[in-house]
Symmetry: C3
Subunit: 268 residues, 3 copies
């Protein structure tokens, strides 16, 4: 029997969003650990505000004193933003952090897991990345595949962080029939790489993407999709840090995420 | 909620077959793209007729103007057989082809998926093959494993197309506990190869194969099996094209498929 | 529909254990094939007696004349212990052995499968091992992962048999979010190896391990955990055979298994 309410607090704003089929957008909270205070707080507020101004509901996820949070208050965000050392929790770590009543930010794989348990269907992320292999740290492993294979979700992403990670992720998506959709683009964006890998389908409009998802899920072909969107101007990238670029491209995708999200929660 | 009737047309012949627990045999439609018109039409009729004369119901699968078909009329087959360029749809492609109202043949992995959604339990195929890895096209990936791992189906196959594909497929079957049954044979047939790999169990009669499946599924060990049957005379192979040999061996397996099929739909 | 009662006999002692939420401990029966008669019988009785004296119920699993057994009588154990050639059945083999009314011991992967079908939640095993790859016998494959990924079980193990197997098992556990718990230890015990690999969480008490499992499963994060416990004195190992050491360390873990088991069957 599931008792996830025992462990997860869903904010009033997110609950209201679910009730009204609003585009609740799942986001991990690594922005808090990637920037230092008070910049981290400012940047996460900007993301939340931009989601709201596009008609969406920000579903940022954290763990605070052993309670999982979907939708986080300003006070709660401030507590985390000020912490000197912030644990980045992977999916596997969640029961342990609850047990120890610890606090931390959720990485994308654990945000996917907690979001899915809570009913989220649309997730927004920067570049997709892999995890280090615990045995051979020169190699990657890709851990999010179970979420994609078994859950009807849409993930809007800026691209893939590196060629090595691209090889592993694309092979895994292909083997497991996870469609790679390019929103108005033909190639998967790979950070700082000239290599080209094609998306499976270039789709021109958000409503066509929603139709694609409706058909897939009504037909019973379970599983998520990844949607890549155009990156911002390449030349800018050379002058800026990875984490800034990652965030800029994520921000650029808010509009498409809320547009798709405004339909996706109506699919039964 | 599933609405697969919105997307799949099941023919009257197949529906009648289901109702009467007849051996409905799932077949992909790549015969249509492997041969040119009118040979492709003639050859697919031959397969259908031989299934019927063995007491079975042919469940050929295609997509026509965005409608999936299980059991295809002569008129529909003719439309596809005459097309100059025929899309070969993989499982992942199905929602996109429905969205775009396109037509095409179904490869074995998508025929498995559509067949399983429609209630088919027995599939007939030629040699098992892998797909090209989209990233490293000198390597293969094997995509059908989810269908085998999670669905109670029996696939009757002529063998495996090459040693490289055999290595990948057998390793995947072994890792995922998919039994490899040899119907009256001890070795997995590999096309044009001297290499020998053993089946897991040599079983002498169709009724014993059905008993094996009944035990497996009643016990709750979910998942499909692959059944290999003897190839026709090796010497003939040297003189003929791959696609002809593939089809001859598939045809040779119709009798065992319908015999097993006549029992398998009664397993609850 | 499942009819597993048609194929599995659960002993009165195990049924009573289930009814009373007693710590029923699943054990494979390879002790019978690893030692010769009458030593094998003596050693398996010792394990059973030690489980009982710790308040547990031994759930040894075998197949006898095509009947699966969970909890085996002295007479039945004696029949198997005396057999000259004992089949070691893998999960995949079970339907075939039932079909042929054969007898044999269950390897750990098939004991996991039969145990899970029967309702067991706690398993005790020696060192974790991999299987030989049927195609490239210099390589291993790891077959138990499906049981860990999809079932809420706890496996108490002595460690991993070799570095090569450790690499494969740890990578698979990590990729699939199976937590590796160290009961009062920080490193995964690897037989006869200086190599060090960390557990995910060092947990100090059995009740904390049970809390971890309760949180994980109530939250809906499906899947098992592996719990490693301290090995006995390293110096002793040099003087003894692998199979003796394996059994000694398994015996050492009975107390922790029954302690965890006395709580785990109460988790809903």
């Amino acid at each position: 029997m599931l008792f996830y309410e025992k462990y997860i607090d869903i904010s009033q704003e997110v609950l209201k969003g679910f009730k009204e089929n609003s585009p609740v957008i799942g986001i991990d909270s690594t922005i808090l650990s990637n920037f230092s205070y008070p910049e981290n707080l400012k940047r996460i507020y900007e993301i939340e505000d931009k989601i709201r101004s596009n008609g969406g509901v920000p579903g940022i996820m954290v763990i605070l004193n052993g309670r999982l949070k979907v939708g986080v208050s300003k006070d709660e965000l401030e507590i985390l933003a000020k912490m000197e050392f912030l644990t980045v929790a992977s999916k596997k770590d969640i029961p342990y952090l609850i047990l120890k009543r610890e606090s931390g930010v959720l990485s994308f794989d654990s945000a996917l897991a907690v979001g899915i348990l809570s009913g989220l269907k649309v997730f927004l992320t920067g570049y997709l990345t892999c995890d280090k292999n615990p045995i051979d740290i020169n190699k990657y492993i890709y851990k999010d595949l179970c979420e994609y294979s078994f859950n009807n979700i849409a993930v809007i992403s800026s691209g893939i962080r590196s060629e090595a990670e691209m090889n592993l992720i694309v092979k895994n998506f292909e083997t497991n029939d996870v469609p790679i959709i390019g929103y108005q683009i033909e190639n998967i964006p790979i950070y700082n790489s000239e290599k080209i890998a094609k998306v499976n389908y270039k789709i021109e409009t958000p409503s066509e993407i929603v139709s694609f998802l409706t058909i897939k899920w009504e037909l019973g072909i379970t599983g998520g999709v990844i949607i890549f969107n155009e990156q911002f101007d390449e030349k800018l990238e050379k002058q800026e840090e990875w984490k800034i670029i990652n965030l800029k491209n994520l921000t650029k995708n808010i509009k498409i995420a809320t547009t798709i999200g405004s339909e996706i929660y109506r699919i039964k």
